[in-house]
């Protein structure tokens, strides 16, 4: 059996907000019977401009039902502008996490939300961009969608992309193309000057925040894959003090990780003058 969290099982066993709304302000269906999961999501705004009601119907596995149920709880009470900022990661986090192979369920939730908001604004039923390259024909996943999940979730491999949006999980013919796209995205991310890194003079607080963000975005995902983590202890002038946690704590290669991963990332995104110490 899957290692589902109690919260996933709770939302699966007792899904919230199942059903339909008579005259919804926004409505969309994503996925299909052929793909193995599908979600119809709709919402209605209250007089205060906030989402007063949200309902769903889902065809899919336990985590698909739970992700849909979680989504409805998350959007109620939000303005459309607030709701559209919800990421798939936040849906997964709301449930206490999802197994890697089930992350695509959270992506389906985010897609349905976006499509319903699009429907609310334009009245269009469908958000598929006709001129967008369809990369995975088995599951109908576009290049734009692959780029997006790669960027938002810091993905590096085809396998990860498959876990998040199913692309490449069918016949496998598109796996090379997916790797190209992932490489392009990551290359662009690495080459792009991090906007916050450019200002000549950062205040101390800005600098610490940027260090924290760099650790969060560039370092932590890599360590987490091996069951490790990193914590920022202190910043003293140009000296950054960190501590490795989890599997990384006491790892014999910790110094290598510090130099090749942590220092490199901080040099690139914050300041080449920084030195990193382990405490």
């Amino acid at each position: 059996m899957w290692d589902y969290t109690d919260k996933v099982m709770d939302h699966f066993r007792h899904p919230r907000n199942v059903g339909t709304i008579e005259h919804p302000d926004g409505k969309a269906t994503v996925g299909s019977l052929a793909c193995g999961d599908a979600l119809t999501f709709m919402f209605k705004l209250g007089p205060d401009g906030r989402i007063a009601e949200a309902k769903f119907q889902t065809f899919g596995c336990a985590s698909a039902v739970a992700s849909s149920s979680a989504l409805t709880e998350m959007v109620i009470g939000k303005t459309v502008e607030e709701a559209e900022k919800i990421t798939n990661r936040e849906i997964a986090d709301y449930l206490g996490g999802l197994p890697d192979q089930k992350m695509h369920c959270s992506v389906m939730g985010r897609e349905a939300l976006e499509a319903a908001i699009h429907n609310y604004r334009t009245g269009e039923e469908n958000v598929v961009q006709v001129n967008d390259e369809i990369v995975c024909t088995c599951f109908g996943v576009s290049k734009a969608e692959i780029e997006r999940v790669t960027r938002e979730n810091h993905l590096h491999s085809v396998e990860e992309v498959t876990n998040f949006c199913k692309a490449g999980g069918g016949c496998g013919m598109c796996r090379d193309r997916i790797q190209e796209i992932v490489d392009e995205v990551n290359h662009a991310a690495a080459a792009a000057p991090a906007p916050e890194a450019q200002p000549k003079r950062l205040t101390t607080l800005q600098r610490i925040k940027l260090i924290e963000r760099t650790l969060e975005e560039q370092v932590r995902p890599v360590l987490k894959k091996d069951g490790g983590d990193v914590e920022l202890i202190d910043v003293d002038g140009d000296v950054v003090r960190i501590a490795f946690r989890g599997m990384c704590a006491g790892c014999r290669s910790a110094a290598l990780t510090r130099d090749n991963l942590v220092a490199k990332a901080l040099h690139e995104f914050v300041d080449p003058a920084l030195t990193v110490e382990m405490v």
């Binding site: 199942v18 052929a34 193995g36 599908a38 979600l39 065809f59 596995c61 069918g170």
Partner: protein, 390 residues
């Protein structure tokens, strides 16, 4: 909460008689049968007695045609790689599209190694395409291995192994069958079905996990797969797993008795009751696979417009153990290759549920499932965007 175990094609409850017979070989008779001392040597006799029980169960003429191994995947690997290795040159493997991964995996590998692999399809009922098979036998000169399952693990559909073996032999092929899902459910007799190689798994017939059998007809050209010592007459190296082999012998004796004492008829009656009850109480449901050419214990049913993993979790909450060919339940994104090979419509592919019974299944348990399953299906349908509500 009670447990209703209807997942016997995945694994079975070890029979109490089997476990009881095994115990002394853990506690007292733990010697090595190859030893040149009486303490070890005394376990060689029970080992050979088990071999005779298995030979009797399969209709093998000679006990030495029975090779004990670790599991059916090993047996299938031994059959496929062992025969291909004995050719010493590229040959052709003819198999079916609905085999277990223990056969499909080695076939992929053999293709990479330069052999030709031909996969025979099935029709909408899951029945073997005999015409395509005969054509494949005729189309490929040179060394040939036929590897076709006796019964399908997902649908329980039976293939006409006797005819398949006769045609294969007539065309000069070596013939292997994975009989894992047939053993103990229908009579198996290698005197009637002239296969050269046949795979059986202990844990699918009330022996524990960790023991299997490859039947190797005398005169079959096959090389060992696990290479090492002289055990099993050089066909499978490794110290014999004596307690499990003893258990396998008892399991075969019990299975043989169950095939003649009416147990299988009782299982078939319970399965049919489950089938009729579910079809009657769950609208938009369909049976996958032939209902006439099928082992007596298996029911594969699709509940349209809902997804299998969700159904399994809800059944599990009620203590009911079953399995599904749905993609999610398999931990993959693609639904079962068996269900797809049969051309089952997409509305039904993801909602396929397999119930598999055993001789320990009771009528009360079937009634319990018939009471609870329809409410699970109705609950899931209430969630489904593909069902017209109200």
């Amino acid at each position: 909460m009670k447990t209703v175990y209807l997942d016997n094609n995945a694994t079975t409850r070890p029979a109490p008689e089997v476990i009881e017979a095994m115990m002394p070989f853990f506690t007292e008779l733990w010697g090595n049968p190859s030893s040149m001392h009486a303490f070890g040597g005394q376990v060689a006799r029970p080992l050979e007695a088990a071999r005779e029980e298995v030979a009797d169960f399969l209709g093998a003429e000679h006990p030495e045609e029975i090779v004990f191994n670790g599991c059916a995947t090993e047996g299938d690997n031994h059959a496929l790689f062992g025969v291909a290795a004995a050719w010493g040159k590229p040959g052709t493997i003819i198999t079916s599209r609905v085999e277990h991964p223990a056969v499909l995996g080695p076939c992929l590998r053999l293709r990479e190694m330069g052999h030709t692999v031909v996969e025979i399809g099935v029709d909408g009922e899951g029945l073997f395409d005999m015409a395509a098979y005969e054509a494949a036998l005729a189309a490929h000169p040179g060394p040939k291995l036929v590897s076709v399952m006796w019964a399908n693990n997902e649908t329980g559909v039976l293939f006409p192994i006797r005819r398949i073996a006769e045609l294969g032999k007539a065309a000069g092929a070596t013939v292997h069958t994975d009989a894992v899902q047939a053993a103990g459910k229908v009579p198996i007799d290698v005197r009637e079905a002239p296969v050269d190689l046949l795979t059986v798994a202990g844990h699918k017939m009330h022996a524990p996990k960790g023991v299997g059998v490859l039947y190797v007809r005398r005169g079959t050209r096959i090389k060992p797969y696990v290479i090492g010592g002289h055990q099993e007459r050089g066909r499978r190296g490794g110290t014999e797993n004596v307690p499990y082999i003893v258990g396998m012998g008892v399991a075969c004796r019990l299975a043989k008795a169950a095939l003649t004492d009416g147990s299988e008829l009782r299982i078939a009656r319970l399965r049919d009751k489950l089938e009729a009850g579910l079809l009657a109480t769950c609208p938009d449901s369909r049976v996958n696979g032939s209902r006439t050419h099928r082992v007596p214990n298996t029911l594969n049913v699709s509940f349209e417009y809902i997804e299998g993993e969700s159904v399994l979790y809800h059944l599990s909450d009620r203590g009911i153990c079953a399995s599904s060919g749905s993609a999610c339940a398999a931990g993959s994104l693609e639904p079962s290759h068996v269900i797809r090979a049969m051309g089952v419509p997409f509305t039904a592919v993801h909602g396929s549920i397999r119930f598999s019974l055993s001789r320990y299944t009771t009528e009360e348990e079937i009634d319990y499932v018939l009471h609870h399953c329809p409410e699970v299906v109705a609950e899931m349908r209430a969630l489904s965007p593909f069902v017209k509500h109200g």
